[in-house]
Symmetry: D2
Subunit: 176 residues, 4 copies
Amino acid sequence: MTQVIVLNGGSSSGKSGIVRCLQAVLPGPWLALGTDTLVDAMPADLRASDAGIEFAPDGEVIVGAEFRTLEAAWIAGVAAMARAGARVVVDEVFLGGADSQRRWQTALHDVRVLWVGVRCDSAVAAGREVARGDRITGMAASQADLVHRGVAYDLEVDTTHAEAMDCARAIAAHVS
Amino acid sequence: MTQVIVLNGGSSSGKSGIVRCLQAVLPGPWLALGTDTLVDAMPADLRASDAGIEFAPDGEVIVGAEFRTLEAAWIAGVAAMARAGARVVVDEVFLGGADSQRRWQTALHDVRVLWVGVRCDSAVAAGREVARGDRITGMAASQADLVHRGVAYDLEVDTTHAEAMDCARAIAAHVS
Amino acid sequence: MTQVIVLNGGSSSGKSGIVRCLQAVLPGPWLALGTDTLVDAMPADLRASDAGIEFAPDGEVIVGAEFRTLEAAWIAGVAAMARAGARVVVDEVFLGGADSQRRWQTALHDVRVLWVGVRCDSAVAAGREVARGDRITGMAASQADLVHRGVAYDLEVDTTHAEAMDCARAIAAHVS
Amino acid sequence: MTQVIVLNGGSSSGKSGIVRCLQAVLPGPWLALGTDTLVDAMPADLRASDAGIEFAPDGEVIVGAEFRTLEAAWIAGVAAMARAGARVVVDEVFLGGADSQRRWQTALHDVRVLWVGVRCDSAVAAGREVARGDRITGMAASQADLVHRGVAYDLEVDTTHAEAMDCARAIAAHVS
């Protein structure tokens, strides 16, 4: 039985919408947790410091040592939730590409995971970033390809021309 | 000179995204005001009462007498802002169709207005409503056609297959 | 009949809480509009530019020329709403002290207004700023006294030791 | 070393503000997780169903079987984060009083925990609920005493007359 679905994609690629559609179409209740949950749980000063995360003027995100330490504990905890019986959709931004995936793979080594890449054309994602109005300009473009480098997927979806609900249905068909 | 752009469309048709893109692509600063601004300004008890607005279980929205009174003053005020020199994008849901438009036409009779209809296929809008996760299920479907009944436009855009940014550019081309 | 209540106070002085309590305790429906409504209506790029508003690292807020132009139209529009029959609570931050009040006085010259100062001890407001977690650190302290310079009130409330609801009741007693 | 701080109190008792102040005054970074994080992670339909949580018209909260199952996994996961090295402030509403505490005690049996009760006079909490404007009316009053029944604390704070920052400092003094 698929216990965890990990969605990886850049900012404004449409992951959150797919997650909410997945929660609506998958049988049984799934928890939705992700990078945004972790960042919201961090102290305010860590969200804007060298030790935490920093947003460069061009939208690049830089992650510091203290962030990494808390993130490691977070990943261990989410894996423990899955082992304790919860089914979880994880909404992630693999800023470190394959290295980021490895951290999750290690923590989830004994759990059945469906790895999903969420692609979106860089220019389209940049336009959606403007339409959302709550993101730092440039994050969508700078992350669009970066986060997929060296990452292995069971399935990829592309939101450039597909609706979140259609992507969710395609993913749900791979959940056993 | 176009002083006001009125966008009318159902819930989850994509109006807010178009508004933020319009603010980004139009020359000069434009204020964005709309139904959501008015509802947020209302007392909490009016948002859920016979005198104010009520959300039926199927997503239908019912508007009461006290809401109508405040709305009339609101429309007069937004028109006064335009007359005082602000350029304004109004993001509206014409639940009363042609009657709703008439209220704005009367208030804006001496102001140059661009009337824009924002269409979205009902099933697609319903899917986006799930993806957003913050709207009452059913509003998108119940409003998709209703709000356009008898309304006259200078221009219509359809977000079913077009991005918010592309719709904004099409609208901006009609702004003089 | 009091048509408009203008609340003026620094960031984190507790104005918004008082406004919501006023809407609950005052007879009849009152619209709540204010600086936050105006800032939300502005284009994103004006919220962080020399032409719009800028947040200095110490929490000081600097307002530019294009902001002033839109603000003037906004004030004229809110005054028009009051003249059209809506009763309005305006939640303001008079960064320019007496000059800011004069702009509202001019626009509301023929309307009955209750002017209310919302005070809060600077250190207490700074603590509440941390507790809220969504404000730029330093705004509370830098605005606590500044916004009251030269401003004339019908009534002052102090949230340092009083609850929002008690302040609202004290204000409501002055509304005729 | 104190690894986890559990704050328990009713809705609008001021827990979230204390949590943000704790993150600001405690040495080192602490994660803030709680009931709100869990509820946000739940599927939308579980937030309003017999299987999940239900808000009665008087503000009472009823929790269903599927909610309990996900909550058990959530608690196990947060305990695993603490065991993996993260220091965590948990912001909880013990609707089941002593039973709710027991669930956390079991999961955290090998972790050093500081148990903190957050009290607030029921009438004051009800006023703050109105001032916040985003909570269902009645939750504050119905939970004020209920959540403390049979719960054992290392420390209690009362926000009726004390600021969030002062409560946070009092709690921080007990963290080793």
